[in-house]
Amino acid sequence: MSYWSNTAEDQRAMLEVIGLESIDALFDVIPQQLKRKTPLAIRPGMTELELSQHMQALADRNRHTANSLCFLGGGAYDHFVPAVVDALASRGEFYTSYTPYQPEVSQGNLQAMFEYQTLICQLTGMDVSNASLYDGASAAAEAVLMAINATGRSRRVVTASSVHPEYRQVLATYLAPLGVELCTVPAPQGQVAAEAWEAAVDPETACLLVQHPNFFGYLEQMPAAVEAAHKAGALCIQVFDPISLGLLRRPGDFDVDIAVAEGQCLGTPLQFGGPYLGILACRESLVRRLPGRLAGQTVDRLGRRCWVLTLQTREQHIRREKATSNICTNQGLLALRAAIYLALLGPMGLREVATQCLYKSHYALERLTESKQFRPAFSGHFFKEFVVRAADGKLDERLKEAEKQNILAGLPLGRWYPELSDCMLVCVTENRTRADIDAWAESLLGAQAGTHARSTAGDPVASKIVRTGR
């Protein structure tokens, strides 16, 4: 099976025009000893029907959010994706086009990029956004490289153990060739102590990389982090959760210099970790240090408003080894999905999703910790994720029990934090119903849980958030 068009007759006619006798002659230039004598050792080709059956059989061997209850988070989230996102992003005119090198026939993509950049600025309160990077982790690493270049300080970068461990691993990989020291501030209570930031920053520090809400789901003392960084002449980079900004103050309102995020939560399915969307926004003064593509507004010959790729002198195809980054693509289709998602939700929809996450996660924590079999690991404020400790230390058994009931109950933290080996990270999004949460708690708590059924009379929402109005 395949997709080429040429018939045997076409091939003969084409070879004749070329002046060759055979297809093989097309490859004469390749030295004989380099040519394969045997076919590749891979499966024989399949028809569409055979392939569909094969893939369905493989898909059936996976648990997923449609046949399991997912309480996993940690940077990839099971948020609701409205039908409109898939309907529009699956238009071939979007997904089978490429980088808008010819702006006259790419205004759809260019305008969508410009709208994405604007939406990210509105979401974050930052001045400028690029047109996206690979994912949240590489965006964080690129932001740190920007900070090193902007400050001219290449000795030291400060982050915290409450920043996503995989983001810190990526950062370490990116910094290794530069010989920059990566200093990690501890977060013993699930948060960094406010004064710890100032203690960690010295006059040779390029930047602070803070995650708020952090990897554990808890708030960090952003004002203290920003102040500590700026006092020392360093930049402050915030890793944020886009959904949280329905309720929380924006990175720009904290006066951070660069804001980065994983944008998967904005309308992109989980798909086992990618492709995702790296969001990077910064203050105006850093624009020429931005990595990646940028769409800018201009006019055509007739004075009509239009959009082009701009400030390309930052980029590798012009600057080669002097470019701000080697990045050569953006995540166009995922940025489009995010733009559609944000347009659909608007300010109130985003606030509603954030409110659902906030309440349901708190309900889940209260529900699970009623019986003392699980205890909150930390006491801080959290948004949609929290950490609990299995009182008997037998976390794995509990998780396996839940798994038997098709519940992906939480993410064990021992892999990254040996001191939290009896703890798990739990995420509760708007997609989980109260019944889901009750089932989750019961699966973890075993038989005794049934006695803790709760009343939910009355409107629980009204007074809990300090300010809910617009």
């Binding site: 080429w4 097309l26 076919p39 891979i42 449609a66 529009l88 989980l270």
Partner: protein, 484 residues
């Protein structure tokens, strides 16, 4: 047919109070009194646009109509391999058992997915002849960076300190940019006038400081370097590694293997070679393959199999670490997997044969019109020069031709790349185009070259906009909408 009202910016369509998606109030009782502290809360939600659902649908539907795409047009964009993107792959990668899987699910709950990825690793190893595979990199350039970090770790492990990465002047800009990001000095090797690596210059540059030679073969001129084995041997003689930029693998699938040509490391571009849609500029993927003694340095995790059970292997003490969060661009990799299974060994070889046939046929038809400095044969793509048209009074003839092609309903070739050919037009038809399409394209180019110069200089004439003022865009950057 145009709907200018619907393609106003989202922010201009916004009206206070208009809504699309709503969520109910939470139906759970919470006892905590202060869920979030005052200092952390926003006064109001972000000032996003307020539009209705039908506004959004009509807006983006009309925007999509302002794009050329592979689904709608011939897209001979050289070096980008804009082949047909099979619909079945879209459907299959979107099955909930693939698309709704969380990256931190236990291995036991994702055996089907890991089986796919494991087999993909094995197929890429077979196609490249290089047994160590990492599916983690998110794009070709990311694969380059990853492989160069692997090379750095390899030399460090051997106690060698090597500082230089060589790449030819015809190479893509990502090569030197990746070299610098990986901590190396990027050094350029000259090409001969016929477009191959200048062996004398290479010999001059090679010494014990050279870590890696990055080479694209077939190269960006669409030529297979017949001296590739010699080049690799020269690099190996000084202890260096050869990295193959796999951008042009479409030309040689099943014909020759990078390892047989002397490559020690490479990346694939599944969004090119294996038909992943380009998505308006991403997502792609950049899996890398390396020879066995480089394998311990690959990023974590890799998919492994033990007693029939698939698992993500994190226990790799020599690994360079991670280059991104989670596993990789799995959605793109699944499409590549579907593509490979569809074709099988015979089909893949025929992909290369028809890609090279189409390119040579189009070159045979076009070389009478515009010169091809590198000769009258090519692999999957070729580069024409429009330089002689400067004498007819065109200041930027490659650009003018490219723009005029848009009026004829063809996407333009890649222009002004590679840098080694003046007024370059780089044309890659791919195997999925028919002879009739290639003929129509050649006929259009022939007509264009006979048209009055002002028709070219002012082209395009039939597109939603005419040529934009790119100088103004860069001089006075407007990168976001603001209320005036």
């Amino acid at each position: 047919m145009r709907n200018e009202q619907a393609t106003a910016l989202l922010f201009e369509l916004s009206r206070p109070g208009r809504r699309a998606v709503r969520f109910a109030a939470p139906d759970v009782a919470v006892q905590t009194t202060e869920l979030l502290p005052e200092w952390a809360l926003a006064d109001k939600p972000p000032p996003l646009p307020e539009v209705s659902e039908s506004d959004v649908v009509r807006h983006f539907t009309n925007l999509s109509a302002r794009n050329m795409s592979v689904d709608s047009h011939f897209y001979p964009l050289g070096s980008c391999t804009m082949k047909y993107n099979p619909k079945r792959n879209e459907r299959l990668a979107s099955l909930p058992g693939f698309s709704q899987v969380h990256p931190y699910q236990p291995d036991s709950t994702v055996q089907g997915l890991l089986a796919c990825l494991f087999e993909l690793q094995e197929m890429l190893a077979e196609i490249s002849g290089l047994p160590g595979v990492s599916l983690q990199p998110a794009a070709g350039a990311h694969g380059e960076l990853t492989a160069l970090l692997v090379a750095a770790a390899y030399f460090r492990h051997r106690g060698e300190r090597r500082t230089k990465v060589l790449s030819p002047d015809s190479a893509h800009g990502t090569n030197p940019a990746s070299a610098r990001m990986a901590g190396f000095t990027a050094v350029t090797v000259r090409s001969t006038p016929s477009g191959f690596v200048d062996l004398d210059d290479l010999r001059r540059q090679l010494d014990g400081q050279v870590a890696v030679l990055m080479i694209t073969n077939p190269n960006t001129l669409g030529l297979f370097d017949p001296h590739i084995r010699t080049i690799a041997d020269l690099v190996h003689d000084v202890g260096g590694l050869v990295y193959l930029d796999g951008a042009n693998m479409n030309a040689v699938l099943g014909i020759t293997r990078p390892a047989d040509c002397g490559a020690d490391m490479m990346h694939f571009n599944p969004h090119k070679t294996f038909s992943g849609p380009h998505g308006g500029g991403g997502p792609g993927a950049g899996p890398i393959c390396v020879r066995s003694d480089l394998e311990p340095f690959l990023p974590v995790p890799v998919v492994a199999r033990r007693n029939g059970h698939y698992f993500l292997d994190y226990h790799r003490p020599e690994s360079i670490g991670r280059v991104r969060a989670f596993f990789g661009n799995v959605g793109v990799l699944l499409r590549a997997y579907c593509y490979l299974l569809t074709h099988g060994p015979d089909g893949l070889r025929k992909v290369a044969e028809n890609a090279v046939l189409n390119a040579n046929y189009l070159l045979a038809r076009l070389k009478r019109l515009l010169a091809c400095p590198q000769g009258d044969r090519c692999m999957h793509e070729f580069v024409l020069t429009a330089e002689p048209l400067r004498r007819r009074g065109l200041k930027q003839p490659a650009r003018d031709i490219a723009k005029r092609l848009l009026d004829y309903g063809f996407h333009a070739p890649t222009v002004y790349f590679p840098l080694t050919v003046p007024e370059a037009l780089m044309i890659e038809p791919t195997e999925t185009e028919s002879k009739e399409t290639l003929d129509a394209f050649a006929d259009a180019l022939e007509k264009i070259l006979q048209e009055p110069l002002d028709l070219l200089q002012e082209a395009p004439h039939s597109t939603p906009i005419s040529r934009p003022d790119e100088v103004q865009a860069a001089r006075n950057p407007k990168l976001r909408w603001t209320p005036d």
